[in-house]
Amino acid sequence: MNVGESRSVNAVLGVLAWAAGLLFFFPVFWTVLNSFKEEQDANTSPRLLFDPTIDRYRDVTETTRGLLSFREAFTNSFVIVVVSTVIVLLLAIPAAYALAIKPIEKWRDVLFFFISTKFLPVVASILPIWILAREFGLLNTRIVLVILYTAMNLPLAVWMLRSFFQEIPRELIEAAEIDGAGLRGQLTTVILPIAVPGIAATALLCVIFAWNEYFFAVQLNPVDASTMPIWVTTNISTRGDFLAKLSAASVLASLPVVIAGWLAQKRMIRGLAMGAIK
């Protein structure tokens, strides 16, 4: 392929990439746009120009007695997601160490066991889970979702962290070992600082999965300790126009994840390990 040819191929690929990008972005863009409209504007023929209003946001965040409020759902989600993610990291970091840095015997089997817990479709396990939750009096509590989201994200976190830990130059850990650092010293001086981008990426995924989880939440916590995805559905009305209001609710539900992504991205700077070796 000559230079001119490859340049025109690149141009075509560029246009295709933009088209695909816009196609994916458009629904998000339209949702955000709709959330600032009056209901009648949102439901009539699509218009780009309109008088923006934040009334819909006011509507959805209003607290009505007897109904799941934004504040309540947000607090529940926030607590459940943060607590479960912290627990996942606390468990997954030592597990990943044992699988990547000082591999235990049969680490392959252990690794496979972790992922095998994800083989069963959640629908197939919901009945026993529901019965267990009821027996332990955990229905409609934050605890039940913390437990489930921890269990749900743990295998993934172990797998991800293991591969990040494996990329840490082995000599660095050995150098720390010879320099007199114990396990804690090795973790704090070598492993964790270098694995920060990986840990941030793992935490982000855990946050996203837990924040967006709907099935367990709606089955186990429909009354109390309900989470944001459930709150979004409460804004679906069976009568009248609802598109703008639902859009506002969707934007509010997605915003924390977007912020979490932005925060995590700042941590995911590449090349942190640069200068360590060679």
Binding site: L172, A176, E177, I178, G185, I194, A276, I277, K278
Partner: protein, 367 residues
């Protein structure tokens, strides 16, 4: 400071049949710089890692001083190690990197600063103490890695090819500095390299390993002039020693010309079925001598010239290298006469062991 002793130290990697280090017996004197050298896969790095405690021993034991450290954790062995890729802590500054081991030991901060400054002064690193490793050049990183080792005075320094990531010029310069530093600090040092020039120039003694087995451990001079076997003979020296097969049945000779062996040498060689004759390139003359040959390649290094010649020996053309002073006027393709003057080693063809060496002065190929 202490001596180091390997006693039948063996390491067999799981899933392999052949030991990476096989029954290694080696004594390293207090303050000595011993170089472990060998081709890749010879077990030299494994031997070092066993001494560091990074590889467990499958049998045998290792002593530092009088203490059996075979089961002791790396951090309790009082050693310092310099890694091939330096292994600097990327998020710590040069000063923090160098002071890390002291901090782990619980040395007070004020004292740490003094010791780090002292090491930095020795290694010319003072201007860089606050920098992170990524803002240093390769040579500076190498010095920080050294600094991390010398900042404390351990019983033994372990160095795993510390110069192999430097460019050729810097490597030669650092080699000298390192040898000087080691003499000054007088800390027992075990140095691993695959580079025989590095081994010969730096080591007080050099241990040559092959396939996990120690071949010979001697001073550079002895290794060069009295190699214990064919492997050491071929490995040490550049260009390599000329090795030419010969039989015992007929008088030992090269290119149809009998080799004058001393009486003792002839007796020693008599027991072997096959022998291999070895002579250094500097023992070969081109343009004078009784053997006929043809020039193949001429490598002019300026100060000296390596001349590759094919000689007729036992109905074959055998390659021989001569190291001659410059200038050399012959060209490839020319027929020349070749002679051997100097020490000729006689090796047992089947065991590879050196049987005898003809004294250099008396040696020449008779017509």
């Amino acid at each position: 400071m202490a001596s180091v002793r390997f006693e039948s130290a063996t390491r067999l990697y799981p899933g392999t049949d052949r030991a990476a280090v096989d029954q290694l017996d080696l004594v390293i004197a207090d303050g000595e710089l011993l170089v472990l050298v060998g081709p890749s896969g010879s077990g030299k790095s494994t031997a070092l890692r066993m001494l560091a405690g990074l590889e467990p021993l499958d049998s045998g034991s290792i002593y530092i001083g009088d203490r059996d450290v075979s089961g002791v954790r790396p951090r309790d062995r009082d050693i310092a190690m310099v890694f091939q890729n330096y292994a600097l802590y990327p998020q710590l500054s040069v000063a923090e990197n160098m002071g890390f081991a002291l901090k782990q030991k619980g040395v007070p901060k004020a004292e740490r600063i003094v010791q780090v400054r002292e090491a930095a002064r020795i290694l010319d690193l003072e201007p860089y103490l606050d920098r992170k490793p990524k803002h240093l050049s390769g040579g500076q990183r190498q010095r920080v890695a050294m600094g991390r080792a010398i900042v404390r005075r351990p019983l033994v320094y372990l160095m795993d090819e510390p110069l192999s990531n430097l460019d050729a010029k810097l490597r030669v310069q650092t080699r000298t500095e390192l040898a000087e530093l080691q003499t000054r600090l007088a800390v027992t040092t075990v140095y691993v390299t695959h580079d025989q020039v590095e081994a010969m120039t730096m080591g007080h003694r050099v241990a040559v390993l092959k396939d996990g087995v120690l071949q010979q451990c001697d001073t550079p001079h002895k290794l060069y002039h009295e190699p214990g076997n064919l492997f050491v003979a071929g490995f040490i020296g550049s260009p390599a020693m000329n090795l030419v097969p010969g039989d015992v049945a007929s008088p030992i000779g090269i290119g149809g010309h009998e080799l004058e062996l001393s009486q003792d040498a002839a007796v020693a060689a008599g027991g072997a079925e096959q022998v291999v004759l070895g002579f250094r390139p500097e023992s070969v003359t081109v343009g004078a001598g009784e053997i006929t040959g043809e020039i193949r390649v001429v490598e002019d290094l300026g100060s000296e010239v390596f001349v590759h010649v094919g000689i007729h020996h036992r109905n074959e053309v055998v390659p021989v290298v001569a190291k001659l002073p410059a200038p050399f006027l012959g060209r490839p393709g020319e027929s020349v006469s070749v002679g051997v003057h100097g020490a000729v080693h006689v090796f047992d063809g089947s065991t590879g062991l050196r049987l005898t060496t003809s004294p250099a002065a008396a040696q020449r190929v008779a017509g």
